[in-house]
Amino acid sequence: MGTKDKEGFLKLFMVYALLICIGFIYLYPILHMVSVSFMTLDDLLDSSIKWIPSSFNLANYKQAAASMDFWSSLGQSILLAGIPTICNLISCSIIGYGLARFNFPGKSICMGVIILSYVLPSQVTMIPTYVLYSNLGILNTIWAFILPAMFGQGINAPIFILIFWQFFRQIPKVLNEAAKIDGAGYFESFYKVSLPSAKPAFITVALFSFVWYWNEAYLTSLYVHGFTGEGMTSLVIQLQNFATNYNSYASTAVSGAASLNESINMAGTMLSILPLLLLYFVLQKQFVESIDRAGITGE
């Protein structure tokens, strides 16, 4: 068919209208957040001001950042998301390769257990795991995240294993056979032949693992932050406890901060997602194409 398929004008118009409308609905909370976070108390109370604040007011951000202990929390967040991600990459690629390249008895059982462990809510294993960590003495340290990730049991690790499995299956086996003929051992042919060609899978897993660890509030507060907050903290945890943190910060006379209001709440929320937003805009192409390239959808 040489002719270009033309869509009807009305249809195209409808599609654009819908996309723009839904896009606006999607962005609405973020726009709302940005706009409110710059407002002063007077702007908040003024009913004539809906979207654009009367002045570019950064005081909310300063106060929110001070109460969240922004820079230290940011550093800890990066550590808490980054190190388990690296462990995930190593362990899941090895496991995925083992599943994709070798035929050993019991392989289908392993696949079944992987899928089951994904469906199982983490709450069911949470309490014994908590006791186990406290017996091992790694509760409220970053090791509570690193150790499971090292053995392919981190957050959403089944998905990552399946991504690697899918990807290594697509790489022709002939490459490994050629390497073997040239005298490479099993591990050599793994990290010299298969790994370099699995770059897209690595990017996908790294991005998603980082984002999911970053956003994980429940397990972080339980295993790493600690019930009384003696362990490490992250921006998301700081946001979860924002009200109490802020009130204790505002009550000290030195800070001279206003009492908690909507603008400060929104500024705090904005601060906690800002690093990920920056990451997203820098790596947008990788994010958007990640699922495409990792071949989740390929059969």
Partner: protein
Amino acid sequence: MEETKKMTRQEKKALKERLKHLKSGKLEKRDGRMGYLFMIPWFIGVAVFLAYPLGTSFWYALNNIRLTPQGLLSTFVGKGNFSNILVQDPDFVVELVDYVTSTILSVPIIVVFALIIAMMLNMKIKGKSFFRLIFFLPVIIVSGPILGMLTEEGAGSISAIDMNAITSAISGVLPKMLADPISDLFNNMITTLWYSGVQILIFLSGLQKIDKSMYEAAKIDGGSGWECFWKITLPNIKPLILLNVVYTVIFISSTSQNPIIGLIQTSMFSGTKEKGYGYAAAMAWLYTVVVILIVGLFALLLMTRKGAYEKQVKRAKKAKKQEARNRKKIERRNVRNAKRIERQRAQGKITSRTTSREDY
């Protein structure tokens, strides 16, 4: 000739039998063993972080566990924890029913919404990458505390649309049991839609893999866009629908926005006599069973139903059979009629040739 043929057949059979008993070669065996070597980290992980906690958690669920300075003190209570939760706990059953209804309602909405957006993004439009950027954004920022903050401050729904009107209209028509979750859904429309970022991407990459020539062929045969959707698009992305549904259920079940998860955590650290680790473990087991049942329900619904295409093929085959039967019937009747006419002519009842041909 016949004998040799039989011999070879027997030989073949014997060879097959022998091949069945033949052990795999040394190389293959070593390959298999190396597979175990690569899987070692996973085996350790499963044993330490999955199997052991799972077993212990089940044991905890049957016990009342107290934290004492000497360590954990457990007394066996059998199904006492479960009956306490189901009969005495004021919150758990209510929250669980809420969770089940809202999940069953919102999962189809999220998946269908994701499919619609993915199909629109798959069209030939300008600014495709820009729209993709917007619709994938929630994946980055969706997390419990942030969603909680946004709903708290009223950014979870659009103030411009009068949600009260919608919800009151709904509760006027439907019984309370259905109306409440639905109006909840409307009130948190944005946060519900925000859950569909990954699903959109999965659908989109599935849609791009469908062969374009199928649509062209359908168009030549006079298929409308509507028919193309039901007979080409849907059957092709059917496995992805199941994938997305499972993903959505798991995602909803594990966000910290979910009240049941909070309930489990508070009863875990609760100081009262009957609560504590054992009670929380029993709760977690009940919750797990419900989650698995929901996943199973959706999987069953999506797997047993045959695709529209297969249905069409079946119907066409049936129609063809019917047609063949009819044709045969007509043929038989023709033969019979011809015979009768022949007979009658032989008897001399019909003399003119034209009368026998009057049906022409």
